[in-house]
Symmetry: C2
Subunit: 619 residues, 2 copies
Amino acid sequence: MPEITFLPQNITVEINLQTKTNADAAPRSSLLEAARLAGVSVETPCGGAGICRKCLVKIISGEVEVKSGSYKNEKENHVLICQANILDSDVTVGILSGLYTEKGSFDDDINNIIDFEINPGVKQIDLQAAKSNYLDGLSDLDRLTNALKKTLPDNFADIKIPLPVLNILPVKLRQNNGKIKVIYYFDNNILNIISIENTEKSDINNMYGVAIDIGTTTVTLWLADIITGEIISKKTDYNDQIECGLDVISRINYAQKNSGELKRRVLKTVNNLISQTAGENNIDINRIYRASIAGNTVMTHLFLGIIPEYIRLDPYTPAVFKVPAFNSLETGVNINPYAPVSFAPSVGSYVGGDITAGILSTPLCKDEDNSGIILFLDIGTNGEILLGRDDFILGCACSAGPAFEGGGIEFGMRASSGAIDDFKIDENNNIIIKTVNNAEPMGICGSGIISVTAEMFRRGIIDAAGRFTDKMPEKINKNKKPYKFYITDNITLSEADIDNFIRAKGAVFSACRTLLNSAGITFGDIDKIYIAGGFGKYLNINDAKTMGLLPNIAEEKIIYLGNTSISGAYQMLISEEKRRKVSETSEKITYIDLSGETGYMDEYIAALFIPHTDIDLFV
Amino acid sequence: MPEITFLPQNITVEINLQTKTNADAAPRSSLLEAARLAGVSVETPCGGAGICRKCLVKIISGEVEVKSGSYKNEKENHVLICQANILDSDVTVGILSGLYTEKGSFDDDINNIIDFEINPGVKQIDLQAAKSNYLDGLSDLDRLTNALKKTLPDNFADIKIPLPVLNILPVKLRQNNGKIKVIYYFDNNILNIISIENTEKSDINNMYGVAIDIGTTTVTLWLADIITGEIISKKTDYNDQIECGLDVISRINYAQKNSGELKRRVLKTVNNLISQTAGENNIDINRIYRASIAGNTVMTHLFLGIIPEYIRLDPYTPAVFKVPAFNSLETGVNINPYAPVSFAPSVGSYVGGDITAGILSTPLCKDEDNSGIILFLDIGTNGEILLGRDDFILGCACSAGPAFEGGGIEFGMRASSGAIDDFKIDENNNIIIKTVNNAEPMGICGSGIISVTAEMFRRGIIDAAGRFTDKMPEKINKNKKPYKFYITDNITLSEADIDNFIRAKGAVFSACRTLLNSAGITFGDIDKIYIAGGFGKYLNINDAKTMGLLPNIAEEKIIYLGNTSISGAYQMLISEEKRRKVSETSEKITYIDLSGETGYMDEYIAALFIPHTDIDLFV
């Protein structure tokens, strides 16, 4: 039976192929059916007629059969899910609809981010070079150098000019009587010229940059005007590395065979996103003068073409934490070839640039020394947690599994249309559910699972170990294991699902506790909890406390941040100060490897109950 | 009639094709005959049987017919001249035999050059990186950086590591328990890593470099051990740009159509020379860690891919005099990709890096302030002249034409085997000639022309205007113009030849005089004359004085230097100090454009007599 995996949900279903009556035809089954079986939300307003194109997906690996004449984009490997049949092979399908918005964004909070001066570090200056003069002993380069020295307030030790820019200098200097615009940045007191342009064109004052979040599953890019900070376009696509493995460990394994391919694949994704966003906005990619990249430690290594093998081998030493200065030509990012490319620094094998970039959206990166104690949670398949203040930060990573994103849960799904995100049982034992967008219920998202289990626990339907009691037997099927609770006629939550979720919340909670113990403080000392990632968006704090995911902490102390990796990369893009901050702050982080930490296993086991063996933490 | 041009002599002959009796066969003529007609020396010890391979030539452009079965090298376009026939098309032929040695070399003087400390600026250091340690917060790059900081005495602001070197760092650090060798250089107080290597291999301490003289016609490369200074190999080949024009002006014109092609062509020549010399000496080209390049201003521009158009357009402003720091990857030189490539600076449109590199072999580059006044002559088709002391230098270029190299003279040839280089008439009016290598006379080289004309002038056979008198009428054919003097039965010197030579010597002498006038001094103030180029090798000083090429100056004040462009590039290769010197000295040079100099035309006309209208200069 072929296995069909849906991303970004990372849900796999096995499909029984239906044999057609026509004996010649190979057995096949509908891909749309598989998506429904997996509980993956796919909009089909045209009723599966192949007209509305709302159900476009990307076939990431494997092959499907597409009905003849139906729309497809062969270059991107996009097909309409309602027009595709599964054949006898495994397929990985990337859902495209709502890919970005479901990950959480800063759309609403963008004004909150820019509480700093915009200074991307890439500058432009209009120059008037001296007229070329018979026998004055000055070359074109001398005239450029003199004009720069005369016009710039900064002192600098030297000027670096790329050879291709020098090549066109004679022409540029003569096109407009020596009037030119120089795009440059400083590195170590050396003025690095990126580009020399004409001053005639009216659009020339615009300078662009790209912020990129390299995720294991998806890559998100923001194209921004780096002078105003305006975000011009946001786009997300699947990381083309997916075909080489779904998680970082399988990528590391693949890289041992062929690390070059993984680099090529992620660059393909990034460069496609750049050319698409630039093209849609009529922006010349040569006008993109800076890139800023945040990714986890493994993604950063693979992006640079470094074999990440030693990250997972004792003593777990990555090749690089702070990535040195490279330009886009060196890294392969297809923008202006001499644009600087900055990377958010990593601090440990599993606390990478996605987290350090995320810090920029918290007070941990602030200079003020009275921001109090902060807990920063980025919860996904890998949960990363920081605890600290301006003068110390502890960081760790825990493997929560995919339960928070709906993975490993039979009817789990992401927090997209039709996901149950709220669940109540009224005094008459009627179940009242709410779904995202109030759509037809399709499955349960992470916050929904918390809501369902919390309500069940409060009503005594499950016990502290997550087992069904004898309450509401009419909703529970105990005929075979795992026992199931019927949320609707079609959507159930089993004891196995609950177990998976308890282990996920236990991993995160015990990681927090271990950090607190290391710092010699308690939850009561925490002033603010920042939660990153799409997970937090629909979270009910009371339910999270009931389940023991969060301690008893006032709701106003909890702040949701969305995708802080991309918003951090964006801040680094437009602010030299933020790049300095993230670098300085990363140096303050003490990385704690939980697997080597005494007491972590005890904490974990204690957290495998609802809410916890130590009930005092939650009252 | 097809025109056949022979290089490096730059002699062109027109050939009457012989029609074979066989009516089907196209008319053809022997290439060897053409060479003899051109007075180009070609050794054929096997008598033209195609066996000895001594007459190998390179067909630079056009096509020849080669006898079937005869030796040829299709990749290099090498054929045996004795086995080749001219068809009905123009051909440019590059003579290979003795290509290098005829240009003069430093073989004998190499010990004189190295009167300085060898310090190529590229260094190697053996390091022991700290053991990678569980949770010490150090990446591989941190361990490298710490080891460098600990071991190196120098302070440095930053470290630059090329991405491909960072890519292999994790493996290199683990291959030999953290023992590595780092190859690096400093630029602006930043440590630039070129390469990281294993310390196991025994040959690893060798570091190599290449010095390259980019001539308009030929490219010469010296492969050297940059630790000891030992020159491992010397090789010269034709500049592959020749097909795009023989002189710098035609190259500039060609570059307007396609400057990229000229860059590709010279790089092809350079990279062939590198791979040949490295291959012959079993040297890995990645062990070549520095390149040093000297070429005239146009050649330097073309090498860098810069359109040289504005060099010859009023107000004659080159794009660059001092070439900024580039590495070999940027410039396209096929050695270690991160090796620094240095260029000798230019100072004017026609006083380029070949001359400034040449200064390194003269006291003009010395620090001592009592070196006296120096005249530095690099005489070829373009004569470049420097006049100065440690505190001032004047420089100019003059167009002498090809006469000094045997061009524009009917029986002219280079100073190779069979060239008449000395000529006397005894009391009985017998002619006594000496040839290079005492070989059968083939023609007259530059110094030979000086010798012949000086003796004729002393004996009253020609007058001060270079016209034949009535003396020795038995040797002079006055039946048709130009009148000819029979040196041998087959070799003549005509009034037209003498005229060409007088104009050449007049151009050089008047250029010297103009520089002296600018400086307000006379020939009597000159302490030393340094003569670069192959020309000086067989020069008779008395004859040169008689003809008015040189003033009346004591013979011991005149020093011959050979090819100072390549020997200067070599000095720059192995000495940071020499690179600094050549840069500083080039800044002292005031470039004088003779065409704009009052008085130059008067000086030139005065010098068109033997020896000069002002006879006092030569007594």
